[in-house]
Symmetry: C2
Subunit: 237 residues, 2 copies
């Protein structure tokens, strides 16, 4: 089988992780990269030996024959880029947070459905070894059917130094971290029918919320509590 | 000051704990006991040397001059007994669960308020050393203002062998155990403005719910999660 040709759009903070991961994937390669910022384009392009570089997504889609595109920009640009991929018949993998609003999310899904193009939301936490190990134990039946789960991620990790824009968004903890924990809950306990959420801003230096607590009903009958925080000073970090 | 004269109504499973505790309290003594069951009356009366024994609460109130009464019966009888105490001008300490319904609870409070008689609900978990230690840390200011708390009590402890009636009640875990955990949450994080609760029955051998998960907003701004279960097999009990 011929190698699938992909492009990475967005060469920011997480692009290096994406590029490392794509390098490990058999049967697919990143053949082009795109970013509005020429400096970031150069840094990532040089590090991973990608010669084909674009500062404009439209030029990327016009200039390349692509089998897929990995959209690793921030949320607000996702709809435009996914719709552009759909128009060009290119399957898209979109990084989280998927969309800033439900309306945007629905439009993105519709654009790809109408175009007959696969659309995937990238989620990585459920693939971590400890989470996979929990899944394996559940699948073994050894501990029976789970009726309660708590998935907690609390720390005072300074996410803002690496990604300063996170301090300015009105929404924060659920989009940035909670989204992963919610996905783990779905992975372990199944689809969710209802969510009750509480959020709070503890760090006065940021615009958004840095603490969230969610209570969920799973269609399996299980109840879960998802609690996450970037304002929790642990004894040891 | 003269010793306060009290009576214990209800000589069931927990009466022995009550009697031991009253024996340790300075300035107050249990001078009479009451239970519908002559056997239980005899066992507790003999163990603690209480000669004045009643099988009927009305007879107790008629026959004794009391400074207080400790009502340690099960929930459904509380309203009748508290109202009886109020009618006799006797301050009442009522064991939990306070009342089977909000209407009963309000009637009990009204009866004592109208009679000018103190009414107390007995709660013991907040007085346990570990909980007091947490309160001391909070009061010290050392860890700042709490914005999140989780108070969890999960086990598969067989409460039903000691108190078989617990297996038959339609309500169970919140009345029996959750009530203590909720009180700890109030003790540590302050009064509660809203509660969201989920309950489940896991043990097929009982009539009521044996798992509860509650999400609470405290007027302090803190969020808490209270989770309790009598269906959780721990690694070590």
């Amino acid at each position: 089988m011929a190698e699938l040709r992909g492009a990475l759009i967005g060469c920011g903070f997480f692009a290096v992780n994406q590029m490392h991961a794509w390098r490990d994937v058999e049967g697919a390669s990143i053949v082009a990269i795109c970013d509005r910022d020429p400096d970031r384009l150069r840094v990532v392009g040089d590090q991973f030996g990608i010669a084909r570089r674009y500062t404009d997504a439209a030029a990327l889609f016009a200039g390349e024959r692509l089998d897929f595109v990995d959209i690793a920009t921030t949320g607000p640009s996702h709809r435009t880029l996914v719709e552009m991929a759909a128009q060009h018949g290119v399957p898209a993998i979109c990084q989280k947070p998927f969309a800033p609003s439900l309306a945007d999310a629905q439009a993105m899904v519709k654009a790809c459905t109408d175009a007959g193009v696969p659309l995937m939301v990238h989620e990585n936490f459920r693939w971590q070894s400890p989470i996979q190990a929990v899944r394996t134990v559940l699948d073994s039946g050894e501990i029976g059917t789970p009726f309660f789960g708590r998935i907690s991620f609390r720390s005072a990790y300074d996410v803002f130094s690496g990604q300063p824009y996170l301090a300015t968004g009105k929404r924060f903890i659920i989009e940035d971290l909670g989204i992963h924990i919610l996905d783990i809950a779905r992975f372990l306990l199944g689809d969710v029918s209802t969510v009750t959420a509480r959020t709070a801003r503890i760090n006065p230096g940021i615009a958004g919320e840095d603490v969230a607590t969610m209570l969920m009903d799973h269609t399996s009958g299980a109840t879960s509590v998802i609690d996450c925080s970037y304002a929790t000073k642990l004894a040891t970090e």
